[in-house]
Symmetry: C2
Subunit: 558 residues, 2 copies
């Protein structure tokens, strides 16, 4: 029997990747990345560091170019490979990345009138312009719909669907008025490939709707019209025009059109799975299962766990969301995360240590940092340069560094930043455990898990847990390809598909007991800073922080 392949289409912040995978074993047959051509120019530049938008034309062209190039690659790599062997497509994207669409479901930005209007673009996940609106939604829900908040960690984020739409309504009313509806990028792409963009045909994913738009079957889907109208009557009206068909990635959004088949060389009619977010399908591609926490570590971090929907589960404060079926059908998908990890390291390398004759690359820093002992620098940092996603759900937080002397080096500071993200990771693991979600295993994936053994070792030393790394370097696209394999009929369920198509690297980062002992002393200091600057409830004194850091430093140096 000839091998069957599926394609995972992975839409990142700056580029789209197509990955062609052998469904029998997860082997990668071909892959291609296409950088959005509007590039950083498409992300409308502004002095407002909160604004991040992208022209949706890039998403359509990106699918075509990336698929064609990946197919060409597979033909080179695999003798006898035929595009007709591709039996399904899955799609993952960043999110919440909503875009306004017209009555036919076409992006408003495709209309000449709006093609340069930032509000008509896709509002990228990292757009934080809706901070005030997020606070307003949180406050209203806190007053009249507490159960909405219970499923999204207690705070509705500025990164999410309704905050962005309400901000558009308030600040770009002409765009809001012209839009018939708003669609998540994760839903728009499968619809575009299958000609199901129109409101009558559209299917949307539970992942985006549940995690970002407060969609929940227990309260009848989206937030009720009365609630939305309280924010603005026009939001109440919008609700009626939102798609009622909400599905998991186990189902097809539609089938590839003849036009797309013609453009790409794929078979017309192959199923395209309902879309989901990169982190959720990334967790799928890294083998997420009950007891396994998957950390997708990139510029920011998503931490994904699952929990059988047949068992009782508490609402967990500070999580980004608890949504039935958002990762795997039959399980609650639990999402947590850190607003910046790689972005903080990039900040240090690119902004603070810019390209001189002897600049330090990430690899240089890692090498030098490996010579330092935990506690040796006397430094402690908070990992909040881009806010805190979990457990504080607060974008209006910033970085902090304490312990500098007149001899502190860039290497020491960079290591303190890595440690800060590790402490942030531990805080998330602890929160899961405190609410009964036992974590037996941590699997890491993403660029940093691949490229920085030092970071992985520090994560192991700080958390006191072994760190494993996903075999595939492209777990998001692999997860999308797994969804393609299920809708394509290769597998009847996700568990066997995961078993066949995912795996772990042989190398396991095991905690060093001596290092872990020092980090057990440092973590309470981190937690004190975390609570003092991040919560209203904390009350106390930080007089001991600098002194304890000095004491630990002296001890370690001896």
């Amino acid at each position: 029997m000839s091998p069957k392949y599926t394609i995972g289409l992975d839409y990142g912040t700056n580029s789209v990747r197509a990955l062609i995978v052998d469904t029998a074993n997860g082997r990668e047959a071909g892959t291609a990345v296409w950088d959005y051509e509007h590039g950083t120019a498409g992300v409308i530049l502004s002095r407002d560091p909160n604004l991040a938008r992208q022209h949706p034309a890039d998403y359509v062209k990106g699918a075509e170019v990336a698929i064609k190039r990946a197919l060409a690659g597979a033909k080179k790599n695999i003798r006898g490979f035929q595009p007709q062997q591709v039996v399904g497509i899955g799609v993952d994207t960043t999110g919440s990345t909503p875009l306004p669409v017209d009555q036919n479901g076409q992006p408003l930005a495709f209309h000449k009138k709006f093609t340069k209007n930032p509000a008509a673009m896709a509002w990228l996940w990292k757009d934080h312009t809706g901070v005030a609106e997020a606070a307003e939604i949180t406050a209203l829900a806190g007053k009249i719909r507490l159960h909405y908040l219970a499923k999204c960690g207690g705070v509705y984020s500025s990164e999410w669907f309704w905050s962005k739409i309400l901000h558009c309504l308030r600040t770009a009313p002409e765009v809001f008025a012209a839009a018939n509806s708003w669609v998540e990028l994760a839903d728009y792409v499968p619809a575009a490939l299958t000609d199901t963009e129109s409101p009558q045909k559209l299917t949307v994913g539970i992942c985006a709707a549940g995690h970002k738009a407060m969609f929940n079957e227990t309260w009848g889907g989206y937030p009720d019209a009365e609630f939305l109208s309280e924010l603005d009557p026009k939001l109440g009206e919008l609700r009626r025009r939102l798609c009622p068909r909400v599905r998991t990635v186990a189902e097809a959004a539609g089938h590839l059109t003849a036009a797309w088949a013609g453009k790409t060389g794929l078979r017309a009619g192959i199923p395209v799975a309902v879309g989901a977010f990169d982190a959720h399908l990334g967790a799928m591609g890294a083998g997420v299962a009950p007891g396994t926490l998957v950390k997708i570590i990139g510029t920011s971090t998503c931490d994904i766990a699952v929990w059988p929907d047949t068992e009782k589960l508490a609402d967990i404060p500070g999580l980004c969301g608890i949504v039935e079926g958002s990762v795997l059908p039959g399980y609650y998908g639990l999402e947590a995360g850190q607003s910046a990890v790689g972005d903080i390291f990039n900040w240090w390398v690119n902004y603070i240590q810019p390209g001189g004759r002897t600049p330090l690359s990430h690899a240089d820093l890692d090498r030098e940092e490996a010579k330092l002992q935990p506690g040796e620098s006397g430094l402690l940092a908070l990992d909040w340069n881009n806010g805190n996603r979990t457990i504080l759900v607060d974008q209006r937080l910033t970085g902090l560094l304490v312990g500098q002397t007149l001899y502190t080096t860039p290497v020491e500071i960079h290591r303190a930043l890595v440690e800060a993200t590790a402490f942030g990771a531990l805080t998330i693991i602890n929160r899961f455990q405190e609410y009964g979600v036992k974590i037996d295993r941590v699997v890491n994936c993403g660029g940093i898990a691949e490229k920085s053994p030092l970071t992985m070792q520090i994560y192991a030393d700080v958390t006191g847990r072994p760190m494993q790394v996903s075999r595939s370097a492209q777990t998001c696209a692999l997860g999308a390809a797994i969804a393609g394999a299920v809708v394509g009929g290769v597998y009847q369920a996700f568990a066997p598909a995961q078993k066949a198509m995912t795996g772990l690297k042989a190398k396991i980062y095991r905690p060093n007991p001596k290092a872990h002992t020092v980090y057990r002393e440092l973590y309470p200091l981190y937690r004190n800073l975390h609570d003092a600057f991040g919560t209203k409830a904390w009350n106390g004194n930080l007089h001991d922080i600098m002194k304890k850091l000095i004491e630990i430093r002296s001890r370690v140096r001896k």
Copy 2:
């Protein structure tokens, strides 16, 4: 009548300067700087950032070389200048910089046995090895001699005389045992020039003894033997061997020996004034008087004020000292300071932004920083990379930076560090005022006052006060030369000598009201961080700090 000149000898941390001054008008006839030849090698290197020592041979050779070169310069600059026209010498040094001496008053380090023993060197002002001993002395005084603490701000510092000697006794008992006594560098140099090192002939200055060794006439001089013996019986014994002749800079320690006259070309027998610290004579050279605060801004900062000894003065908590006659005879000398100012800027430039192809110099940073508005960066820092001298008197403190985003630049951080030192300066001014010492005028001197107009402008904007700058770039040496003019008989008192020999620059940095308004919002945030990390008494929550910084940033950017 032929002009009369005096010489100021100014011993810094890394070099000694000789300055020849026309006593009629303060004009500089010649000057020379000699870098200690033991250099940084003489400062015994150690992984312990608390240790800082210097070989005293540098001090003797430095006087000879610097005086000879300055005289040569004066001969070139001034037609008809003759070394015989020099009528007196004054000496200022860093401090507390005690060195152990033998029975003849010669440095122990001159003995072959001890010439490479770090404990036998001069213990530089910035040596913090005696932290534990300082805490012990403070605790004991807090129990049985509260009045000792009242005159030194409530805390005895690790930078001071007894902490260092007790630390030597504890950690290098062979050096302590070999030493007949300990002499401050400020007292050793005048003694060496006048052959009065021996215990029978030695005169010591009230400045060092009063500010660093808890010498006070009201309690009979040095701390009593019972108190010292409680710390260690050997310290009680040492007290008997300390010099009882304690004088102000208005008196001569002795007269230049024929040997020194021969070496330098000066007239034998000219008077050498009793020595004092650089900051105190620097204040003299900058025109200190009641109502005038002199800030000597270098690697660290000394803030000096005076108060008539005929008027009542409260004990001011957190000051480094209140000592009668330590600056001007007839006045209490009040000393405050910041443990690092220029050192923090140097740290940023030399450690964090090291020499690449496009490194930023101090001047580059100043130029770029001038483009930023107060509050625009969203950053706030504490100026504690080397501890806090006033008002917390605590070396076991470290730096802190808060407000970093993913876009924060080195320029923004450097400006935040400058602002932090300005907030620290304001905290000192406020402390003086709270205790009735009215500050009508602030005069700055030292390298940063000379070279960084931006820093001076920020100090004006933060404090809301005009910043004036001393006319002389060498106020410490000028102050020493003024002492030389008084002991040399040119003037009968310091006031007329200061009037003739000191002055201010025409340029006055006046506060910008708009900038000051923003800093008035930022200062309470600084003060909250200051008290939360620096005091035990503070109790509260820092939840608003990051949010207010973001709010101010947004407002300023609009």
